[in-house]
Symmetry: C2
Subunit: 255 residues, 2 copies
Amino acid sequence: MTGTPKLVAHAIPGIPLIQADDDIVAIIINRAAEAGLHLRAGDALVISSKIVSKSKGRLVALDEVEPSADALALAAETSKDPRLVELVLRESSRVSRRRPGVLVTEHRLGLVSANAGVDQSNIEAGDDMALLLPLDPDGAAREYRAAIKRRLGIQVAVIVSDSHGRPFRVGNVGVAIGAAGLPTVKDLRGQRDLYGRMLEVTQVAYADLIASAAHLLCGEADEGLPAVLLRGLDLSAPHGCAADLNRAAEHDLYR
Amino acid sequence: MTGTPKLVAHAIPGIPLIQADDDIVAIIINRAAEAGLHLRAGDALVISSKIVSKSKGRLVALDEVEPSADALALAAETSKDPRLVELVLRESSRVSRRRPGVLVTEHRLGLVSANAGVDQSNIEAGDDMALLLPLDPDGAAREYRAAIKRRLGIQVAVIVSDSHGRPFRVGNVGVAIGAAGLPTVKDLRGQRDLYGRMLEVTQVAYADLIASAAHLLCGEADEGLPAVLLRGLDLSAPHGCAADLNRAAEHDLYR
């Protein structure tokens, strides 16, 4: 099988429930090593935004949230908890779509998604708490990449991943909301196809593909596998950040 | 590393340019075997819709296409070749968005995508020909799964993949437009999270995740790797088809 392009993805087992101020890089490296997985230069590490948020203290107690008049009205319209809607509005720059049971907004990070990523699954104390997205997921990815370099002396790519629904299609996919040390968008414009014809507009959402590949292993339910190691990616194109994956509003025909 | 959830993806090398009536299952099995990759029960095979279309004779000579008045008007509006626009309209049930350089339609298969998947890259004779999507990609996936069962006596999952742009985000991702022998949407509703809280709405677009993982290896430019073998997937949930991934128009807030 020499020479065959090959990709391997391992879920890192045994990562405990994460608390505020936990050093998740240390935890991931140690759990990986215990499972016989030793990070190498050129590997990519996909980390669920959920544990990034928890370690960075983004849990909010709902009984400390005072809904605004706007939140109360929108909560009535969408049949949602007004305190959750208040958090969604604080996280968002605008509402994209509303309907009973559905609230899609544009997050201040530029992501268009349900409930601005405010989440009540897989968090302690269930109904009384909500978890917000990390304040700066691209910054977190850079921080983790630097921490791995310091600890192990190697450069790995880091993706902070989230799970999004999307228009037109059923079901969630993985997306990269933070990234460091990899091409996030691969631009094939100017390359030629098999027949020598110039490719006109072909950009590949490389970091989203990686997040989706990792999503095959991490699951969303009770498996608790919030970190995946991928080996065999081609990271040679110019590196970018996850914000590069947000289409500018003026080029978007749907939001 | 025993017990660690692990996924391996291999691009199948050496697949030649495909012509109408080629037996692509035979070609893929043979090339895989020559590369030391022997299909096993439970593997998934992701096949680019492009070679499915070619083998099924979906190449169209543009000089045989007579643009309708609607196509001529839409071509002027979008700055596209009227013959291509005519093909797009024939393939589509409606236009979703139009703008100079952009034509997004709802394909009769239920896919909302640019140019109804009508493609001029990686096809012979370049500007004079266009390639349409397969007439029945779910049927093709079932056909290939059955052919592999006949030849090798094993059940593998088959996905016919395409590359789509999407609202809100830059770059293309892999999507499943045909599928057989796997869960295409995994429904986690009714499962409990790490803290015993019931997950409310969590559907995972499992077949799209697989198509995106394969997309990391197959590329879009001159690499010519139209088939990827994946090993280590959990295919135990109820099986579906790719059409299950199309959100019904009445539940879609964007088209």
